[in-house]
Every structure is written in C-alpha cells, then in structure tokens.
C-alpha cells in the first residue's frame, strides 16, 4: 500500500512529448524565436555596452555584408564550420559521440603541413598538392578510426577517447612547430618554413573552400538520405541489436562511419592549412570542432539545415566585429544567449511541460489499472498453487482467489481516490493562492507602470518647457507628490 502512495506523488511539473507540430507552425515559431533572440541581444547590448538595439543589429549586418571582402570571408568561414559539422553528422546520427573533431581537423592540417615542409622543395608543386590532399584526408580519418576501433571491439567510451585525442593532436602540432622553427619563436611561417606552398586558387582566394564544401554538403545529403551506408548507420544509431538482427555488421559500420567523419574533418584541416592560413598552429581549428557539434545538432544532422545553423554561428561571430570591443566577453554572452533561446525553442517544439493537476486526473483513472494488474498477479499465484490439484477445484480456487482479491483492491482504490481528492483540493488551494498573488502582482505592476508614466510625462514636460518660470516649481511639487506615494507604497 505504501508503494501505491509513493506512485501517486508526482512532481508539480513534468515533461512529455508533444504531438507533431505542423511544419508551417514550426517554421513560424522558429522565425519568431530567432527574431526574439536578437531582440534580447539588442536589449542586452543597450544595457551592457550602450549600443541601442537598432544600431546593434545594424552593426551585425554591417559586419557580415558591409563590404565585398566581408561577404567572402563570411562565406569561407561558414564553409569551414559547415565542413566540420558535416563530418560530425554521420557520427552523431550513429550515436557515436565524436567530440574529437578539433583533433581530427588539426591532424589534417598537420599532415598537410608535413607534406609542405618535407616535400615542398623536392617535388613539383602539383605533386605536393596531391600529397597534401591525400595526407590531410588520411590523417583526419586515422585520428577518427583509432577511437572507432576501440569502440567497435572493446566498447571503450568514445566521448573520452575522442576528447583525449584532441590534446594529443595539439601536442603533436606543438612538437613539429618546435622542431621546424629553429629560432624558438613558435611561429611557423608559410614563406620561411613551408616553401610558400599553397593549394591553387580558384578565381580568388576564398572560392576553393566554398566550392569544396558545397560539393561535400550535397554529397553528405545524398549519403545520409539515400545511400545504404546512411541507412545502416542510422539503424546502428537507433539500436545496435536491431542492426545485428537484420544482418548489419555493426563493427564495420562504426569504423567506416568514423573514417568518413574523420576524413571530412581532414578536408577541413587541409583547407585551413593548405588553402587559407598557409600554416598550422595549435589554434588552427580554433574551437570550431566543438562549435560544429551544436551546428550539427541544431541542424538535426541534415546538411541543408546545417547551412542555416552554421550561418547563424558565423553571423554572430563576424557580425560582432564592427562593435570595436576590447573584450570578447560581450560577444560570448550574446552568442550564448542566442543559442540558449534557439535550443529552448527546439526543445519546446518537441516537448511540453504539463502541470501536476492535469496529471492528477489521469492518475484518478489509474487505480483501476493498478488494481487490475494486482488482481492478475494474484490470479497467476492462485493458478500456480492449484496446478497440481484437479481442474474443477482449480477453477473454484481461482474464483475464490478473485473474491479474496476484490476487497484489498477496493481498499486501495478508495485510499487512492481519497489521496487524489485531497491532493486536488490542496492543488486548488495552491492555485487560488497563486492566482491571488498573481493578481496582487499585476496590480503592483500596474501601479508601477502608472508611476513610470507619471514620471516620464513629467520629465518630458520639463524638457519641453525648460525656461518656464512656473513650470519647474509645479513639477517639483509633483515630484514630491509622487515621491510621497512611492513612500506610501513601500510602507504597504
């Protein structure tokens, strides 16, 4: 009986899955959320850095679209982030928590730089390019396959494993930098150390990464949506046992998917080192390996949505530049808030919060169910004990068992109903109290608003007639009055 009592105790709020929201509504909600997020950021910018919301949002757009160069840089930064997010999508879809993108990108970059350093002056440039491409992609894939093998064969924790691989990659970059840069400055320069090797430009220096990633996006979309591999990895993600049951080689899928994931990270590293920076440092990935996780996740692992989510990240990152801030705390706050709001929106599109008293009604229906199950259990018990005796007696006994069971059933149900009723009453009282307080609060707010209004109108009047001889005297009198009422309110 105590057990049943405990079952009834429900939290005041609980979360349940929401019925599917129509896509029109979902889109509308998302658009409103994004606008709301920017409004909140605008208000914060007003409070924190004294830039009014309109100027703030104007500056964001200026930072992104202000000049032709800014547009190109935005597109290129977007493509690199998108590239890493694309790499993560198959891994996450397979429920393989690859948080080692940072290291995989770095390894891709490092392998590219190794080719540039050791082969740059020995082989013709196109051959070096080819080596860079192969090495960069292979190194990224290798860095992802190692934890995948451990996961597939010994079920090691891939989160920790991939995370630790990041630090190894960073130290390897540090190591090679220290070996190559003999003056000890730790700065690897393209012309001085890497023989000035860069991947060929397409049109201008921004276009190559953009095109490569555009192709990858289309490829990844097809791979995840229409290929057998894409299907297999999503089955493995849903349930490894199901995958095994239908004859999917889970180990193979894990390793293959991570190889793809790492190889695309390697492409990002290759582009960063070979086509953009011309060098590799421990900061080459610049935390994008982690930012890409949120991009991938918010984009629901769909490459097309991911274009939008990575645009959002780059928009905030680059847009904040013209604000001329000497401290990056503000931009970090804004980015955090915008994502917090958007993640919240996504959450409430698929879940809802229910209050307890709604639940209480459903509970009221439940005792019967609980009783039924109990009855069944007793029936089974009864049946077992009588299995050795004759059929007729067995039937009798079962009937008896049922009769016996009915009294406690009813007791339980009655007790439950009592509890539910009482809880209902308490809830009602609570709700009334809340409503009362809310009413009081509303009144207070109303009063406050009136006072504000009075204060503002007074202030504006003062501005309107600053030279008026009588005005100021009147106003001071009024101010005193308002102050008085303030005091009274406080006393209340």
């Amino acid at each position: 009986m105590t057990k049943t009592e405990r079952k009834v105790h429900e939290p005041l709020f609980h979360i349940s899955k929401r019925d599917a929201v129509s896509w029109k509504r979902a889109l509308l909600v998302r658009v409103i959320t994004v606008l709301g997020a920017f409004l909140v950021s605008g208000i914060l910018s007003w409070i924190l850095i004294g830039v009014d919301p309109f100027t703030f949002i104007g500056k964001l757009f200026e930072g992104i679209f202000g000049t032709e160069r800014r547009i190109w840089v935005m597109l290129r930064n977007l493509s690199i982030l998108l590239c890493i997010a694309l790499a993560l999508a198959p891994a996450f879809k397979m429920r393989f928590w690859n948080i080692g993108a940072e290291g995989q990108v770095l390894m891709g970059g490092l392998a590219t730089a190794i080719c540039m350093y050791y082969l740059g002056d020995k082989l013709p440039e196109p051959v070096v390019w080819l080596c860079m491409i192969v090495a960069g992609i292979a190194a990224g894939a290798l860095w992802a396959v190692i934890p995948a093998i451990f996961k597939a064969f010994w079920n090691t924790n891939e989160t920790l494993f991939t995370l630790m691989m990041n630090y190894i990659a960073m130290q390897l970059v540090s190591f090679f930098t220290n070996v190559w840069v003999k003056d000890g400055s730790g700065t690897l320069k393209n012309e001085t150390h890497l023989h000035g090797i860069m991947l060929p430009q397409l049109g201008n220096m921004y276009l190559l990464p953009i095109i490569v990633v555009a192709l990858l996006t289309a490829g990844m979309f097809v791979y995840l949506k229409y290929s057998k591999h894409g299907y297999e990895l999503s089955v493995v993600g849903e349930s490894e046992n199901t995958a095994r049951y239908i004859g999917i080689d889970v180990k193979k899928v894990i390793i293959r998917t991570m190889a793809v994931s790492g190889a695309i990270c390697g492409v990002a590293g290759l582009l960063l080192t070979g086509a953009i920076n011309g060098t590799v440092t421990t900061a080459t990935a610049g935390g994008q390996g982690f930012t890409a996780i949120i991009v991938s996740w918010l984009g629901k692992f769909n490459p097309l949505y991911m274009i939008l989510t990575s645009f959002l990240v780059v928009f905030l990152d680059r847009g904040m530049v013209p604000l001329n801030l000497t401290n990056d705390a503000f931009s970090a706050i804004i980015t955090g808030i915008v994502f917090f709001i958007i993640i919240g929106c996504e959450f409430f599109l698929s879940y809802q919060i229910k209050r307890r008293h709604e639940k209480a009604q459903t509970v009221a229906a439940e005792p019967a169910l609980i009783a039924e199950t109990q009855g069944e259990a007793r029936q089974i018990e009864g049946a077992e004990t009588t299995s050795q005796t004759a059929e007729a007696t067995a039937q009798e006994e079962t009937q008896q068992g049922e009769e016996r069971a009915q009294t406690p059933e009813e007791e339980d149900a009655a007790l439950l109903r009592k509890i539910v009723d009482k809880t209902g009453e308490a809830l009602k009282k609570g709700a009334d109290a809340v409503a009362d307080t809310a009413k009081k609060c509303a009144q207070k707010v109303k009063e406050g608003a009136q006072r504000c209004k009075a204060f503002l109108s007074e202030k504006f009047r003062r501005k309107d007639k600053p030279q008026g001889g009588e005005g100021p005297a009147d106003e001071t009198a009024e101010t005193k009055e308002t102050e008085k009422t303030d005091g009274e309110d406080k006393a209340e």
Partner: protein, 400 residues
C-alpha cells in the same frame, strides 16, 4: 519542407553575394580624417595586449583624435584572420594599420603588399628591413634596459633577503617563466639576470618555457614548479597574470612585465618594466599627418620614454631601491653603462669577444651580423627586434 529550406539557403547565399560593396579607400591625411586601425592578438585580459590597447587610446587622446578615428580589433589570431582583419581595416579607410603580435607579421606583410597606400606597422617583427616593402615597418624598444633596471630591483630584494638571513647567497636563485626560447625572451631574461647580478654576484637563474605567449594555467604551473625547485624570486615574459598570482599565493617576490600587477600581488609585487607604446603610436600617426616616411625599424629608448619601469611597490621592495634605480637609469641614459657589457658575463666559462647574430631573418638560421664591438653586444641596433640569443653562465634554460 526540404525544398523550401534549400531555397532559403540558396537565397541567403545569393543575397550575401549581392549586398554590400561599400568599401572605400581613405584618402586624406588631415587630423580630422586620419583613421588608424589596431590589431591585437588577445584582449584586455592579457597584460601584453592591454599595454597596447591603453597606449593606443592614450596616443589618440594626446593627439586629439575622435572616437571613430581609432578602430580596435581584438582577439585576432596569428593566421589568415589577421590578414583579413588588416585588409578589412584598409577597406574601411584606415591610413595606418598596426598589429601587435610577432606571429601577425607575415599576414600583415601580405596585406601591406596588397595595399601600397596604407602604412602597416608591426611591433616585435623582424622582416621589415629585409622585405623591401616600403609601407611595412617594424618597431620595438630597448626593453632590455628596462629589464636590467627591473633586475636591479630584484637584486636589491635578494640582497635584503640575504642580509636578513632568510636565504644564503648560494640560495639566491631566481626563476623565470618564459614563453618560447626565442631571442626576444632570451634577451629579456638575460638583461634581467645581469641587472640582479650587478647587485648579487652569486645569483643564478632557472628559466622554464610555456610554449605559448598566453596560457594562464601553464604560466601559473610553471611559476609554481620553479618555486618548488627553490627559486626565491620569480619574473616572467609571458602575457597572463598566471605567474604573478602563483607568486602571491606562495608569498614569493615577483618582478612583472608589460604593466603593474600590484593589484594581483599586493604582498609580492616589486616592480614592472614595460614598453610604453604611446610615443611610437604618436610618432607613426604624426608621420602620416605630416606626409613623412615612417622608419623601417623604429627603436624606442629610455629617452623617448618608450622604456619604462613603473609602480615600485615600496612595501615589498628593499630599502633604497628607488635611489639605486635612479642612479643606474642615469648611467644607462648617459651611455656609461652597457647592459650587455662583455666583461659582466661569460659563456661556457669564457668571455665573449665575437658573436654572429641572425639579424636578417631570411629563414636560413645562418647568422651573418657581428654584434659585439667596443666591448659590448649591440642589441636592437641592426634591427628593432632583439637578437641576443645566447644562454650565458648562471642561467639554466630548460627547454624540455
């Protein structure tokens, strides 16, 4: 749904291609029109960058420039982002673009080649005198003199500790947290050591590196390991508050760099040396205003007030430190005292009569310039960035 999103995505891309094209080149050099862009590796939380940021603001104020005339870009990494930032500043009409970190140099040089009408100035760099790009300039200061003075203050403190019986002369071991085993750092800690040695001849010093210009945790850990190894005084050439805070926690005296860290270590901070960049910023802006050439390699000195020692903490420093510093400063200014006087140090037990330094920085690491003459090492004379990279006796440099 997918189709619409795809269309939306391509619309965004297309829109971004079309909007904009507002960049225009600033032409005039009148005081009302001049615009100066600054690129900083980190932001105000780094003592190194804060020193530059404060100097930029001060120079603008001294010259009467308005708010919009100096543009500050913080947290610009040492990669292509630096080129993009420089090019963006040039696009938006800056007449001068300045960058503050060693690793920015090649990216600034790239921008300088692309924008011949804009002056590009770079602190701590080494390539201007050989690059042959007219609008690219390096600048630094004879900070080794400031380091020497800070070393004198450290020596005074050690002497006081010996006299008080807290340590013996043999225990007078200092610790130094360096960023990289690079000439700028080596020159700095050697002059610091020589300053201390001029007061306490028995002093020794251990140097450990963090392999990063800014890594608060590594700097703090390195300072702590030096303290555990028995170092009784710590100084640093790295840009965070890591070492000063480790010293304050351990109660070990600290000689700081880039600016006063007295607020971090009120009970352990002695003195700080720094390069005051305001004179250079004023110089480069005035050059452009007057239509004059900016020097390819500009070196600030004690005389130009570019090299400063500041905020002596009399609660921690030994008695008479200020008087001693004034005396040594006068000698340095008069040129009667040379920091790298070859009589004051030995290398592997021998006096140094000749040393070829790698001044041209062509990437070959082949030294080509004789730096010792007249009985001293001529630091910062053949180029602004330091090139003294010798580990002298008494200093243990731990690179692994």
């Amino acid at each position: 749904m997918k189709k619409i999103l795809a269309i939306a995505a391509s619309a965004v891309l297309a829109a971004s291609m079309v909007v904009g094209f507002a960049g225009c080149q600033g032409g005039g050099v009148s005081k009302d029109e001049i615009k100066v862009g600054f690129i900083f590796l980190h932001d105000e939380t780094s003592t190194y960058d804060k020193n530059f940021i404060d100097s930029a603001k001060e120079a603008a104020k001294n010259l009467g420039l308005k708010d919009g005339q100096i543009v500050l870009r913080t947290n610009v990494p040492e990669d292509d982002s630096c080129y993009e930032a420089a090019a963006d500043l040039a696009d938006s009409g800056c007449d001068i673009v300045f960058a503050d970190s060693f690793g920015h140099e090649s990216h600034i040089l790239k921008a300088a080649r692309e924008f011949p009408d804009v002056e590009f100035c770079h602190a701590t760099g080494t390539q201007a005198h050989t690059a042959g790009v007219d609008n690219f300039h390096n600048a630094f200061a004879e900070i080794y003199e400031g380091r020497y003075l800070a070393g004198v203050a450290a020596g005074m403190k050690l002497e006081e500790m010996i006299e008080d019986g807290k340590i013996t002369a043999a225990q007078a071991k200092m610790g130094y947290v360096g960023a990289f085993p690079y000439a700028e750092v080596i020159s700095g800690f050697t002059s610091f050591y020589l300053g201390a040695k001029s007061i306490v001849p028995e002093v020794t010093m251990t140097v450990r590196y963090t392999s990063s210009w800014y890594d608060e945790v590594a700097e703090k850990n390195t300072a702590n390991s030096l303290i555990n190894e028995g170092c009784v005084l710590i100084s640093q050439h790295a840009d965070s508050l890591g070492a000063p805070s480790a010293c304050e926690e351990a109660g070990v005296p600290n000689v700081s760099y880039n600016g006063s860290t007295k607020s971090t270590g009120p009970n352990t901070y002695i003195i700080s040396s720094r390069v005051n960049w305001t004179p250079y910023f004023e110089y480069m802006i005035n050059c452009v205003l007057n239509g004059e050439e900016i020097a390819t390699d500009w070196v600030g000195t004690l005389e130009t007030n570019s090299v400063q020692i500041l905020d002596l903490n009399t609660d921690v420093a030994a008695e008479g430190t200020q008087e001693k510093l004034d005396e040594v400063m006068a000698q340095l200014k008069a040129g009667t005292l040379k920091v790298f006087n070859t009589d004051s140090f030995t290398v592997k037990g021998k006096k140094l009569d000749s040393y070829l330094a790698d001044v041209d920085d062509a990437g070959d690491y082949v030294p080509e310039t004789e730096a010792i003459s007249g009985g001293y090492f001529h630091e910062s004379e053949y180029r602004s960035a330091p090139y003294f990279d010798i580990i002298i006796d008494g200093i243990t440099s731990i690179t692994t």
